[in-house]
Symmetry: C2
Subunit: 456 residues, 2 copies
């Protein structure tokens, strides 16, 4: 009987050692910068109660949740007469109490409310974990992918927004990814809708504004018209979205136009304060963009989005301030602000642009050749000494042909081969071969460690 | 309307920052040692096709798999007439194509077979990821928990077993966890069953032997009798399991008794070779224990189990050699050997015995007090300089009462408070306060960094 080749579910991925080394370089960088800025790690379970997740991501999001069927005799709770009349949509909530998390934001809000009595606010947490969405898989979109979130909750200070911008700059500087950071403020958008006389249509308007980058201003204007936004309102909104000039030019113009909107003027104040914190060099690449809306309606203040330069991959980080994320779980009046790095997209940008530093990928540094027989104790001593010096190393486990052992080093990109055979043993030395250059030298193991150890 | 307090599914856990710091200390230690020994990371998806998982863990295991209900109209595939007559057990496989992984071993076997053409053997991989089991939750047993596995596949050399023992010793030495490592060989157990005339009953026998530690030898003998193992066979088996003396004494006795069993004698050779690799100091705490069986029937050679001393928590690491793990996926004749650290149990042991080194837990090192107003740029400069020096630090985001800011530092165990108010700004200095001792000093920020930076 032939056994079918095994596979994994559509939209999921295995990660090979090389891919993992690259991914870990990204995760480690983000983690280091988060902790450098005082954010602390938390983790939540992969599965949440469905009641925690449902209704938080819109109707479409509810459909994209992965639901876990209850254990044991899950049908007993349904009732046979019921069964025949139920469709899948009605049956699912009766037989599934749990689902896989869809993002890290809702579980974090749940976490904060559940543990509010043990948490000291302001609470600065980061969380790097996978999320799952039953989306149709396509290029760059997966059903399992990692999010890397940092949020501070319980502080209204705009210093938090400022520091999150610094974190973004620091992470991408360490990763060597060229980028531009777009910032805006939801209160400015609300103010603009207000002075255009369509304040109550803010959700429709921001949803459309969000598409400017993709479909262009003309299409957006058509859509707004189709949605019943009056021409006179569009005539007020459009020129503001197209404002040019320096950040301070834009602010000046806005404070004139929004002077009659209290919300709008609060937006002006917030944006001025935030821009004021950015020292000259820090403001490089930070662009105040009034057309930045982001579809997420829970944002109430700052909005942040980062785009990769030299790439068509688009948004690689985003975030903003939300004033009532925990309200739905029973804790109101708790403002938060956060960002999320899209690790998978950053990976794609870095791969496209060849940005992974080979030296920082932590594969094995040295392979000790196995000649077997009497040389084994000597070779074991060599590999033990290398490890004591902190050098990641292996003794090839079998005493097979040298060609095979070299081919193993090659395939695994191991930069050094250490030969510790009979001649070397007799001389109390080793022969070291640098795979890149092909150069060979006889030396004591200690001189090798002294000379190269620090760089491995 | 009052909103019910949010909760998480039974048997799952949230991890707070302090718990995460401790857990990361364990994971980082294991990861560092694995890479030091040349093991490379891989990851597999949380969900596997159910066909990959079913039938691999016995009937009981099949029941404990978390199954994910298919997306969309999952009932359409079932048929209405069918529905009424189906029980939960029959319906589940019709509406669930995927399940959450139950361990890391089966996904790894699937990975090796699926990617066999891209893998260079021997393949040394490690994998640190959560697994899910719908077990009844109880103290120390969770429905989501982490496994930390290392396996080498495609090499028969016993040097692999030897190095895995060194890895175990190195990890627990770094974690400061007292332990004893029990080793045995499945071939010795098979040989014993053979010479006792009950070779075909090896599975029943090892299942019972596995219980000696829990229920004692007398109960095990009763069970063996109840299972129909003849008294004459038990009379051969029992004294062997109770062998005392040094490892070499045991080996000598065994090679006499097993001389007529080819399998048993291969076990003697393997065990002798492995014990021979262990240098004097390395064999400290490594105990050859013939009563170690482990219930897992896929082991065919070495068996390893590590128990924590000073604790009733029991097994904290285990492993062994298996000769045909990938056969079920269509790749036969591929021998592997591996170990798995139980991170959650190691955590419990370390907490019980107060083994977490405070200095290695990576919380924030310094809190800069926020006085607001004109001092903000000065304070921002201070926190920026601390971070440039690699010191994990925060500026308290709001300019609230000092008492509140100190209480935040206290709650988050931040060891240093840096005061950068008007007086300090005028003097170009900072006041540093060590929270533990309560001592305060005025100094330049650079002297603080020079004096304490390296230790933070």
């Amino acid at each position: 009987m032939s056994i079918p080749a095994p596979s994994i579910p559509k939209g999921t991925r295995d990660f090979s050692p090389v891919e993992m080394q690259r991914r870990n370089f990204i995760f480690d960088t983000i983690r280091e910068v988060y902790t450098l800025y005082g954010y602390q790690p938390v983790e939540t379970p992969a599965m949440e109660n469905l009641s925690t997740l449902l209704g938080k991501y819109g109707d479409e999001g509810d459909k994209l949740l992965f639901k876990i069927v209850n254990s044991g005799d899950f049908l007993s709770a349904v009732g046979v007469t019921n069964m025949e009349s139920l469709g899948s949509a009605e049956l699912a909530p009766l037989i599934c109490d749990r689902g896989l998390r869809y993002d890290l934001t809702v579980p974090f809000a749940r976490f904060v409310v559940q543990h509010r009595n043990k948490i000291k606010f302001p609470f600065k947490r980061y969380q790097i974990q996978p999320v799952w969405r039953a989306d149709r898989p396509q290029k760059g979109r997966y059903r399992e992918f990692y999010q890397c979130d940092a949020d501070v909750i319980g502080s209204n200070s705009l210093l938090n927004e400022y520091e999150l911008l610094l974190i973004i700059k620091e992470v991408f500087s360490r990763l060597n990814v060229s980028n531009r950071i777009l910032i805006n403020n939801r209160k400015l958008l609300s103010g603009i809708a207000e002075v255009a006389g369509v304040g109550e249509r803010i959700t429709d308007i921001t949803t459309e504004i969000d598409k400017i980058g993709k479909i262009g201003m003309n299409e957006v204007v058509k859509n707004l018209t189709a949605k019943g936004i009056p021409e006179s309102s569009i005539a007020v909104i459009r020129p503001l979205l197209e404002l040019t000039g320096s950040n301070s030019d834009k602010m000046e113009r806005l404070s004139e136009i929004l002077s009659n909107s209290a919300t709008g003027m609060r937006g002006v104040e917030e944006m001025s304060e935030l821009l004021g914190y950015l020292k000259e060099k820090e403001s490089d690449g930070v662009i105040f963009d009034l057309s930045l809306a982001r579809g997420l309606n829970y944002y109430t203040g700052a909005i942040i989005e980062v785009k990769a330069e030299d790439s068509d991959i688009g948004s690689i980080c985003g975030g903003g301030r939300y004033d009532d994320l925990t309200g739905v779980f029973g804790l109101s009046d708790t403002s938060g602000v956060g960002i999320s790095f899209g690790a998978d997209r950053i990976y794609d940008v870095m791969l496209q642009n060849d940005l992974f530093p080979q030296a920082k990928l932590t594969g094995t540094s040295a392979l000790v050749v196995n000649f077997g027989g009497d040389t084994t104790p000597y070779a074991l001593g060599v590999v033990a000494a290398l490890r004591r010096a902190g050098i990641r190393s292996e003794l090839y486990p079998d005493s097979v042909r040298l060609k095979k052992q070299f081919s193993y080093a090659n395939a695994n990109k191991i930069p050094w081969i250490i030969v510790a055979g009979e001649d070397e043993m007799a001389a109390g030395k080793v022969k070291v071969k640098e795979m890149d250059s092909g150069s060979e030298r006889d030396m004591t193991l200690n001189s090798f460690i002294d000379e190269y150890g620090a760089s491995l």
